[in-house]
Symmetry: C2
C-alpha cells in the first residue's frame, strides 16, 4: 500500500516486534504523533515568535520551558535542541578544536564523533578497549599521558560514549571523566544510547557536555537531539554572533553561532516535546527493560554455538551476538542460505535484523512488553530447534 505517490506505507512498528538496534528508542509516543499532526507544517512553531526572536525563547508552544526541562532532565545547567546528536558533537567540536589539536575518542566511538573532529582538522586518538570490550579509567589515563607526550599538551577534548553502539557495553564514564579533568580535558558525554531511556545525571557523571538523540532514544522524529552543558562552558559553545557588517552596520541579536540560529523550528521539536513527559517517566523503568532483554539474551545463550559478544549480564537492551556457530551453520546448508533466519523471524512477526545476517548481528529489546520479550525468546529457541540446533532448557 502506498501512503503518498510511490512511497510505501511504513508499518513495521505497528505490525511487528521490531528489534532494530537503532530504531526502538525513537518510536513515537501517541502524544508525539498527535503533536506531529498538529505541527507538521514547515515553520510551525514560529507563530508566537517575538523578540529576541530565538527558538528557546518561544513561550507558545512552551519551548522555553522545555529547554529548562531538558537541562534539568540530565542535571546540567543549560540545554539546546539540535538536529540530531551529531549536530551537538559538531557544535562542541567547532567551539573547541583547531586544526592539529589532538582529540580523544574511544575504540568504540560512533562515526559521527569522528566526522565532527575531522571537520575541524583535529587529530583523532583512540582510547583502547580492554579484552572485554570495555573502556576503562586506566586505559584512558594511559592514553591521555601518551597523547600529552606526543603533542606536548593535553588533548583538547574527549568524546565518550556511555554505552557504545557496537556492544551496548557500559564504559567507566565517571572514572574516565575524573581522570580527564585532572588533565583539564573537557568531556563530551555521548548519551545517544542513554538519554531518554535510562536516568542520566550529568553533574554526577561530571560531564562538561551531555548530548542526547531525539530520534534514537527520546521517542522523537528525526532529526532531533539535545546538547546540554555547564555554566562554565555555555558561553563558549552557545556563543552569540559578534558581527557588525561593514556597509549596513547590521548586527544579529543573540543568534548563536554554533546552533546556526534556530535549530528545530517545527515538527521534530514538537514531537520531542510531546513525548517528553513520557520519556521522563520511562527512564525510571530501565530495570524492567533490562529484565526483558535478559530473557532474550538467555534464550540465545541456550542455543548451542551462540556467543553473546556484549558484556554479560547485560546492562543495556542493545546486544551484539555471534551466531557463526549456530544460525550460520544452518545457513550453510539451508536452501534460503543466510536469508532463512530473517525469513523465519519475519514469519513469526519479528523485524529489524538485516536480511542475510547470520554471523555477528545486533538487536535491541527496548520498549517491548514482558510477554513480547518471552515471545521473542521463544521464537529464537524455536527457530534453532526447527533447524536442528541443540537448545538447552
Amino acid at each position: 500500500m502506498k501512503c503518498a505517490g510511490t512511497i510505501d506505507v511504513r508499518d513495521v512498528d505497528e505490525s511487528s516486534i521490531n528489534i532494530d538496534p537503532i530504531q526502538v528508542g525513537g518510536r513515537l509516543t501517541a502524544d508525539a504523533m498527535k503533536a506531529m499532526i498538529a505541527y507538521g507544517d514547515g515553520y510551525s512553531v514560529c507563530d508566537q515568535c517575538r523578540k529576541p526572536f530565538r527558538l528557546d525563547y518561544i513561550r507558545t508552544p512552551p519551548i522555553d520551558q522545555f529547554h529548562r526541562d531538558l537541562a534539568s532532565f540530565v542535571n546540567m545547567d543549560t540545554a539546546r535542541v539540535v538536529p540530531g546528536a551529531r549536530r551537538g558533537f559538531q557544535a562542541v567540536a567547532d567551539a573547541f578544536i583547531s586544526a592539529g589539536d589532538p582529540v580523544l575518542i574511544t575504540a568504540l566511538s560512533h562515526y559521527t564523533e569522528v566526522l565532527a573532529i575531522e571537520g575541524r582538522g583535529g587529530v583523532i586518538r583512540e582510547i583502547p578497549k580492554n579484552e572485554s570490550n570495555i573502556i576503562t579509567s586506566d586505559l584512558a589515563a594511559q592514553k591521555i599521558e601518551e597523547v600529552t607526550r606526543e603533542f606536548r599538551h593535553s588533548p583538547t577534548l574527549l568524546f565518550l560514549d556511555h554505552f557504545d553502539y557496537q556492544y551496548g557495553n557500559c564504559h567507566e564514564v565517571e572514572g574516565i571523566i575524573r581522570i580527564a579533568h585532572q588533565y583539564d580535558v573537557p568531556v563530551l558525554y555521548n548519551g545517544a544510547y542513554t538519554v531518554g531511556i535510562m536516568p542520566v545525571d550529568g553533574k554526577k557523571i561530571g560531564a562538561d557536555f551531555v548530548v542526547g538523540s531525539g530520534h534514537k532514544s527520546m521517542a522523537a522524529p528525526a532529526p532531533s537531539g539535545m546538547l546540554a552543558t555547564t555554566s562554565e562552558w555555555a558561553g563558549r559553545v552557545f556563543r552569540t554572533t559578534g558581527v557588525t557588517t561593514d556597509v549596513t552596520g547590521r548586527t544579529f541579536g543573540i543568534k548563536e553561532i554554533g546552533m546556526m540560529g534556530c535549530t528545530l523550528m517545527g515538527v521534530t521539536l514538537m514531537g520531542m516535546m510531546a513525548s517528553f513527559p513520557h520519556v521522563r517517566e520511562r527512564v525510571n523503568c530501565w530495570e524492567r527493560e533490562l529484565a526483558n532483554g535478559q530473557k532474550v539474551v538467555d534464550a540465545l545463550m541456550a542455543i548451542e554455538g551462540t556467543v553473546i559478544k556484549s558484556e554479560y549480564p547485560r546492562n543495556h537492551t542493545l546486544t551484539r551476538v555471534d551466531t557463526t556457530g549456530s544460525f550460520d551453520r544452518v545457513a550453510q546448508v539451508h536452501k534460503k542460505r543466510g536469508f532463512f533466519f530473517s525469513s523465519a523471524l519475519k514469519g513469526k512477526g519479528i523485524a529489524g535484523i538485516i536480511p542475510g545476517a547470520t554471523k555477528v548481528w545486533k538487536f535491541n529489546t527496548y520498549g517491548m512488553t514482558g510477554s513480547q520479550a518471552e515471545y521473542l525468546a521463544a521464537a529464537f529457541r524455536d527457530i534453532a530447534r526447527e533447524n536442528g540446533l541443540a537448545v538447552t532448557d
Copy 2:
C-alpha cells in the same frame, strides 16, 4: 484545545488565511501529511539501509532517486538533503573558508549566512544595495575590486540571495555570478525564497551551489532543505572521511564530513519527498502567484499614506509595506493602539502579522487562491475605510 499535554493544537493554516512571511511556502501538502503519519518514528527511513550505509543510497523508500530528482529539479549535478538551508550554508562555509578569509554577502543577506561565515572565522564584507534596495552587478563588481585590494586576493566565496527576506526583491544574480566568476569567486545561490515556489535553473544562473529550504519553500516539515552543486565542487563540499584511527585502524566508509553522515533520517525527508511531485508542478504556477500578490499590493497602495517598500511591480509574493502614514496613524488614536490592526485582520480570519505592528511589516500571499487574494485585498481596504482612512477605487 490541547493536542498533547500542555501543547495547544495548531490550526492557523486550517482556520485562517495565513500571510506570515516565512510560513506560507512550507505548509505541507496532503501527501506530505500522509507520509509524515507513516514515517513519524525516529529513524524511520533506515529499514532498508544496506551497504554502503548512507542516506542517499537507500532505495526503499526511493531516497536515492529523490536525490537525483532534486539535482535535476534545480539543474545541478548532484544534491544532498540537509537540516535546513542554513546547514547547507554551513557545509559550504566549512569546505571553503579559513580564518581571516574575506567572504562576500550582500546588504540584504540572511543572518544564517553570517553565522556560517562567522563560525569559520571568515571576514564578512557586504555588497551594498542601490537606492531601490537591489543588489546590482555593478555594485558587486565594485565590491569585489575593493575587497581584493584590501585583502590582496579575491574573496573566498559569495553568498547571494536571489530574493531577499526583507523586501522580497529580485537581485541581479546572473550578472553578479558572471562577474564573481571573472574573479574566480565561487557563488552560493541562496534559494530559500525561490527553490520550490518558482523555477530555478542553477546552470543557467551559473551558481556553484544552490541551496533550498524544505520548510520555507518546499512544503516540507522542519528542519529540511537541500544543497546542490556542480561536478567541479561536489568532491570538495561532499568530501568523504579520510580517517584511519590509531588503535583499532577503523575507517568510516563513504560518510561525508560536511553532511555529518546522514542528515534527514526520518519524517522531514519523507515529507519533503511526498510533497516533491506537487512542488515540481507548482513552480510552474508562479505567474498566477504573482498575480494574486499584485491584487493585494494594489489594494494596499490604494490606501492613502501606504507605501510599498519592495520593488514594484512585484516579482515575489513576499512584500514589505510601510503603513506609518496609514494604519499607524489610526493606531495613535485607537483604543486598542497598534493591536487594532492585527485584531481587525483576525476578525476577518487573517493571520500571520505580528500583533501590534502598524509601521513597517511584511506579508506573503504565496499559495492562496485568487478569491482568497481578493478577500485579503478587500479586507485591507475595508479595515482602512472602517478606520477613516481614504481609499481610492
